[in-house]
Amino acid sequence: MGGYGDVQMIDENGLRMDGRKPGDVRPITIETGVVPVADGSCRMTWGTNEAIVAVYGPMEAHPRKIQRQDRAVLDVTYNMAPFSTTDRIRPGFNRRSREISKVTADALESVVLLELYPRSKIRISIEITSAEAGTRCVGLTAASVALADAGIPMTDLVVSVASGKINDVVVCDLNKEEDNYGEADLPMGVLPNSGELVFLQMDGDLSPDEFKQAWDYNIDAAMEVHKLMVDALKGGEN
């Protein structure tokens, strides 16, 4: 096991600094109905990440130029609150947030039955109130729970997980410290019932074998997280 600089992120037993095995995800909690004025909402904590998502609609699409005659449009905004990181984020336009909003919308448009609501808009507001690492995954996963809570018809929930590489070891769901020294990051959005993908990004450097390992970690982790999402939506029934 190699080091990265002088920082050793994996101990001799193969455990990570927070005691997780390479394939483990951080602790997760999911709660619905947290924005009482919204049609659907979800609060998800993932490690010390916290995302709050509200869904409004389907409703009349304004301005008229965004309307689609054959289907609904998703208006997704991903935003990090100013106090969500160690150094304050200045509110306002931000290219990173715009990109994440867009890929999140692309992922969700693949599962929502948009053609049932021509000319309307479904608004999904993702607010990250506390960021650790992997906020786009938390945001996307929480958004799919909020959509279900709003009664929006969709073919499946979306579970998003990222794996990466530290000290030349592939690990799942990097936390803040690991992310700072990470050598690669592979976030994926998985449809848990079919194993298909709706979201994929990657940056860094992975060998073919490492890539395969990261991919498999993501799929396995997604299935674990899906169980928690189902539990939250069913409120412990069944």
Binding site: M59, R119, G151, T155
Partner: protein, 239 residues
């Protein structure tokens, strides 16, 4: 694969397709239906019809909503926990006038798209330039959905028995899929509520209610609505 699959039936629970077994006054927790979530497999589709909130994919039934699964005869459907009103021709609805031109009123009927009320279907004959004298912005009306096009252009009418401008009382809302519960078996629940509150209550299919009576009565109705809504949104809610 599924994006092109069209959901059979209508995407919103309606009075006529809702199960009415669950009346709000009786105990219902003895045989509560299974709660399902979007994407959940509901078994083989052979021999079954996909109802509201259910898709057939590769010979399997699949839920597209969070809600309670119902099997009625051979139709499997999901009764959602939250819905948005989707208009259908013939629906009695309560609308708010949002705007107008010389010959059209624009009406908010609480749906994902607003409606128009052409002058020819309005409550009275309008002199040129006198649209706002008949129905002004902010007025509320009891009307009926005349037509809904596939692209969701919709038209409402005020020609019909009992359709009019609402001039007194209060409006309230409840999720459209809860109307079945509010009305009750054979209309019993609503009838009792009217008697008890001494109010006139008009239940429109877009989930808006017109309650007319004295304030005590209006409060009684409102509290009752609140209870129904709270109860319905509870999953695992036997607490």
């Amino acid at each position: 694969m599924v994006a092109s699959t069209v959901m059979k039936g209508w995407p919103v629970a309606r009075l006529d397709t809702m199960s009415r077994e669950s009346s709000a006054d009786g105990p219902r927790d003895s045989r509560r239906a299974l709660v399902v979530v979007p994407g959940e497999d509901l078994g083989v589709s052979e021999g079954y019809e996909a109802g509201h909130g259910v898709l057939v994919v590769d010979g399997r039934l699949k839920s597209t909503k969070q809600g309670r699964m119902n099997t009625k005869g051979s139709t499997v459907s999901v009764e959602p926990l939250h819905t948005t009103y989707m208009p259908r021709p013939g629906d009695l609805v309560i609308g708010h006038i949002e705007g107008c031109t010389n010959n059209i009123w624009f009406v908010d009927i609480g749906a994902p798209f607003n409606s128009i009320l052409p002058m020819s279907l309005g409550p009275a004959k309008v002199e040129f330039g006198g649209t706002r004298k008949i129905l002004d912005i902010g007025d509320s009306i009891l009307c009926r959905v005349q037509e809904v096009e596939e692209t969701h252009q919709s038209v409402v009418t005020m020609k019909g028995l009992g359709l009019r401008k609402i001039k007194s009382g209060a409006l309230d809302d409840v999720d459209p899929h809860l109307l079945g519960r509010l009305i009750g078996k054979g209309g019993n629940f609503l009838r009792d509520l009217k008697l008890e509150s001494e109010c006139r209550i008009v239940v429109a299919e877009n989930g808006r209610l017109w309650i007319d009576g004295d304030l005590d009565g209006i409060f009684k109705v409102r509290n009752c609505l609140k209870e129904i809504s709270l109860e319905a949104r509870q999953v695992g809610g036997v607490n």
